[in-house]
Symmetry: C2
Subunit: 382 residues, 2 copies
Amino acid sequence: MKFVYLDHAATTPVRPEVREAMLPFLGEECPGNPSSIHAAGRAARKALEDAREKIAGLLGTQPREIVFTSGGTESDNLAVLGAARAAAGLGKHVVMSAIEHHAVGHAGDQLKEEGFAVERLGVDAGGRVEPEELKKRLRPDTVLVSVMLANNEVGTLQPVEEISRIAHAGPGKTLVHTDAVQAAGKIPINVKALGVDLLSISAHKIYGPKGIGLLYVRKGVRLAPLLVGGDHEFGRRAGTENAAGIAGIAKALELAVAEMTSENQRISALRARLAEGLREHVPGVHLNQHATERLPHILSACFDGIEGEGIILHLDQEGISVASGSACTSTHREPSHVLAAMGVRAQLAVSATRYSLGRATTEDHIDRAIDATARAVQKLRQ
Amino acid sequence: MKFVYLDHAATTPVRPEVREAMLPFLGEECPGNPSSIHAAGRAARKALEDAREKIAGLLGTQPREIVFTSGGTESDNLAVLGAARAAAGLGKHVVMSAIEHHAVGHAGDQLKEEGFAVERLGVDAGGRVEPEELKKRLRPDTVLVSVMLANNEVGTLQPVEEISRIAHAGPGKTLVHTDAVQAAGKIPINVKALGVDLLSISAHKIYGPKGIGLLYVRKGVRLAPLLVGGDHEFGRRAGTENAAGIAGIAKALELAVAEMTSENQRISALRARLAEGLREHVPGVHLNQHATERLPHILSACFDGIEGEGIILHLDQEGISVASGSACTSTHREPSHVLAAMGVRAQLAVSATRYSLGRATTEDHIDRAIDATARAVQKLRQ
């Protein structure tokens, strides 16, 4: 059976070029600890700083503002928990969207337990935050606003540039964080143009390895560290640096940015073919999407009278991998908080199926997915 | 110049067998997210759980008690901060040794800021904690005791079995954590025999990759998570699992345990040769060590009338990599808190040089190190 992997928003395979970039740090070639002062340590340090510099260039910022973490979750946690805790003396009010990834959303819950007031911004039917809504919520004690650059379940892009402007013009000393885990490599990211203070990226969503991520931290932003110990990462994150992972994320981001335009064109056409095919061949399909502001590679659909898991299991039996809400929530069955915020009724939301396209995706994959979905829906409705 | 790497306590190169074990997760072979329910996800999940089972077997425990983290620092932080915070309702008293790695020691500082009383246990001239000393410190509100299994700067083994027994027999509901980052792969570890509730291991000290570690968490132990988001790692640690790293740490631990006896014998003999050689060829040398209770691969020495960095730099010029206190503190120059606790006077402690041996170490390496040290000391004293 030839597998069709349509779950690139959950994770992506490591690209050969990325693996090549990692290999020197998975052997005798560069054995040192970047914190050691001898030759082996200095070589490891140089490789680390080269990667940091490359990434800073790609994101339009300075190396000193890039902090390596163990992944998207840690980046989001460090941003939200770290910034709010460090600013608790200034105020204890935090605003985030209602459709954040749990790495942000649950960090909000944690802040609540620590005495913060955490407000969640609603979204429209297309899954987009209304910046004017934010304006009304800002208070003198608002220390943090966190709105993702693109949603991981439905792909909707958020007006982060405007959100930054509004938050920074508000009555408080408000920092802005954006979770760019799904957006990275799909839309151009310049942290200065976005105007954010904090931005999270994960490697394994952009054909890099799992276990490595980064957080852009604007110079001057105070963060309470999550991990303490050695003086790594400018004192913002203790722990021996993941040398192979760092080489990997730098290469992965470099390639993603270089190929973005051509790859987006190709993927967008495939996504359009999928959307069209589903509409044509599956009666009672509903696409959960914004009309214009969306990522090229994610398509979320609901189906009248169907439970989501049924479709996923049927497709899986044919070797086609798709997701329900998102991989991170797939092991429990709460209805998606994203679809709920978009106003999708729970009965329909349970059928949500996310197709996420990637480098390996072909027209044939799309056609097989359409065909298999149509048959699965028909069978499940009987 | 042929390099002589004598800094294995700082980090070790990844073994070829470990790299081989990781490669399937750095390519197309196993592209899934372990949290996904489709075939690709299930394959990734199976590999992850196989690794967890193997490790549990090696440590004498159950898979459910192994939590993967991003490394030794996160493991130590999760243990110390997580256990203390979760138990804050029971009491706010914590005891740790004065010679812990900063990942534990600074976590203690953090707890102090959160209102905990943190006491530090002194050590004898050999660097060993006196268990009777612990008995006197235990109180009804002591929620955590943290004493490392072996020290990273001088290699002294700690009486952790006795410490566990004493702490658990104390007047409070006290949990015991041990940082086994340096001890793992060097001395046999059975968590049940040690009697600890929490135990930290890092891969990159045992010829595994950087960026992956684990924490043994006894069933029933309550931990406040450091990272929140998805329901990974039994709810103890959110974030997509580092599939390649996990395969790597399992293989690294397996090999280290399998070769422990033979390798220890070889390394101990080399360490004896080094100690003897330094004593014979370097007047005014002081070995910072315990007479009997010590790791086979670490030798720490101080030299009358010398600044430590001088020796390290001289050796580095000859291609020999050694450390001052420890890699994690090498970028700033505070005198070692470990040597201070052992009663080494500051003037002498600044000359501390740590030689740490490993798989690549040969008699020739040892002889070159002795010779180079003797010349460096002579030069620096002139």
